[in-house]
């Protein structure tokens, strides 16, 4: 462990490689997590099928790739298709569990996740797939740092998408309605907002965001019908650490998670990547609790 640590000091360029890798993948994590934060914050639904939506988006990109269409072009297609899929899911299932207790929504979304996994397995088989952008791989500093162009592109797309969502939430009527519903659903209803439609839209928007993230995942990592779970876990970790309705927090936590995974992988060994992330989450939660207690004492 110490050897690895001293390696980072002796060869500072390794830090650049780790940071770039961490930030690029963290941006994608942040995207999927933002979708979860929306659904959780607005509808109070803890969506366990988050990772499966990501994988579905990945399969759309991969499938279009097999038809000879560049997987990047799958981004809008996946977003639109997944939006529609989200709407159908809302009308058929989510609508019925939204007012129920926590466990009903957890069980329902877990069920959705299982059905999606098996359906993908039946449709595309259990083989591991990956979409290929065919982009160049760039070397910097004498080959000490290398970055695939697709990572730059996907980072740019992440920023663009996140920006678009933020603008949408701030400026559009629907965005305002979503925020109003999140603050107080009953008051929003009294003011004439069709909360049912807001819920449907929020859930579908989440699906669309996940689908877009999935397209990027399929070009940077690999996909398989049963690989959604780690994506769900990451989204939950990020949202829990950032807090609901805190977009800058989600982005920071997403990027931080990417960095933490890379650094812990380098220093402690790849097997500790996820353990470190969960460990950090525990520390964040304890720190928050501590702040809360302090705050309460002041009020007293």
């Amino acid at each position: 462990m110490l050897v690895n640590f001293s390696l980072l000091i002796q060869a500072p360029l390794l830090n650049v490689q780790l940071m770039l890798d961490g930030l690029f993948i963290g941006a994608i994590f942040a995207l999927a997590a933002y979708g979860l934060a929306l659904v959780w914050g607005v509808m109070n639904v803890k969506n366990l099928a988050q990772g499966e939506f990501v994988i579905m988006g990945g399969y759309i990109a991969w499938y279009m790739g097999t038809l000879g269409i560049h997987p990047i072009l799958a981004l809008p297609v996946a977003a639109v298709l997944m939006f529609g899929f989200g709407w159908v899911l809302y009308v058929t299932i989510i609508r019925r569990v939204i007012a129920r207790d926590l466990f009903t929504s957890l069980l329902a979304t877990f069920g959705i996740a299982l059905v999606i996994q098996q359906a993908l397995n039946l449709a595309f088989g259990p083989a591991v797939q990956s979409a290929h952008s065919g982009f160049e791989i760039r070397s910097f500093f004498d080959g000490m740092v290398t970055v695939a162009d697709i990572k730059f592109v996907s980072f740019g797309l992440c920023v663009l998408l996140a920006g678009a969502v933020v603008l949408f939430m701030k400026r559009s009527r629907m965005g305002q309605a979503i925020r109003a519903t999140a603050q107080d659903a009953r008051a929003a209803k009294v003011m004439g907002i069709d909360t049912e439609r807001v819920y449907a839209f929020t859930y579908s928007l989440n699906c669309a965001i996940c689908g877009a993230a999935g397209v990027l995942v399929s070009m940077i990592w690999v996909i398989q019908p049963f690989y959604g779970v780690p994506h769900s876990i990451r989204a939950f970790v990020i949202v829990t650490a950032a807090g609901l309705g805190n977009l800058p927090g989600v982005i920071l936590a997403g990027l931080g998670l990417g960095l933490a995974e890379q650094y812990s992988g380098f220093v402690l060994g790849a097997q500790f990547q996820q353990a470190t992330v969960v460990g950090l989450l525990v520390i964040v939660l304890i720190w928050r609790q501590y702040l809360l207690i302090k705050h309460r004492q002041v009020v007293r």
């Binding site: 390794l14 490689q17 591991v128 990572k151």
Partner: protein
Amino acid sequence: MTTSTKFLRALTFGIAAAGLLAAGPVHAKVEGDTIVIGSAISFTGKYSTEGIHAKNGYNLSVKRINEMGGVKVGGKTYRLKVVYYDDESTPARTAQLLERLIKQDGVKYFLGPYSSPTTIAAAPVIEKYKVPMIEAEGASRALFNKGYKYTFAVLSTSEQYLASAIALAAELAEKSGKKASDVKVAMVFENDAFSQDVRAGVVDDMKKYGMKAIIDDKMPTDLSDISATLTKVKALKPDVLVISGHTKGAATAARQLTELKISVPMIAMTHCEAAKVTKNYGKAANGYLCPTQWAETLSYSDKYFGSAANYNKLYNATYNQKGSVPYQAAQASAAVLVWKDAFERANTFDIEKVRDAISATDMKTFYGDIKFAPAGNNIAKPMVLRQIQDGVYNVVAPLKWASSKIDWPRK
């Protein structure tokens, strides 16, 4: 109680007892002129692709044996037939279905499921009922260190997968004037039973040559990202990089090795073919060493299928396919050949005698030589190491079967 009722009662008991004896598993399970072999294997779930390959292999061999006159036992000719159940790629289900095959269907001879976890679940059931199983798809060494007496495997065990790469590295180092003990090894393995077995084999061989591991990482559980470890590889410049993490680990490794432009003189990894590294990464995958249980270019042969290449042809013609047959199918076919051979040598259907005959197997097949150690693993067939050269898998080790020279150091 009158004498007649006593007599009737005795008669009923007698008939019932005789019925039980007749139905009992003394010479089970042979229906008329058909020997029934059972298998719980994966048609659905995560192992379905390989499970179906294995089933195709079993069926092809059964068809071939029946066409060639079947199995001769006690002067009579029998046909082979396999009864399948789908274990849904779930070990618990494999065990359940085996009990059903044994208790309800009366089957007493078995072919294995697909994968180590399902075979590990099957072996205790096989042992409990003392019925022999010849398996072709479970390589974990957990199957061969428990003292099982009824499980036999035709394939090489998992610790042999990459050990040959270490031997090869030592040999190449010595040829180029270096000491074998100077070879620096980087290891990246998934944290599961199979890959840790592979690792154990590598570590044993490294000890033999006095080599040192400069990196010994386990892959993260989701196998999606090993770039941090590969960055370390870049910094520490090992002579050999060994990787094992099933198909997903191989796919991730190939992608990130390419993206990080890692150049190590020797890279060996399992599951190259399943991860389609040549198709997906083209030139970047050149030089990878990939172990395999079997390849159609090997010079093995037998009287049922002829050469390994002929087997490949027959399989493709039967199942309407092209290219190289997955080794999962070839080893499944070999397992059925062992059954035929054992029945004929035992010359009876007595389960214990058939088991002893399997245990004494010493035969040559298109898949390789088969001879079982007391623990049930095949000790006669080595793992083969192939190297990707210009997008083609060429056998480079062991030297006896090598069709090409190794490209070393890898460019």
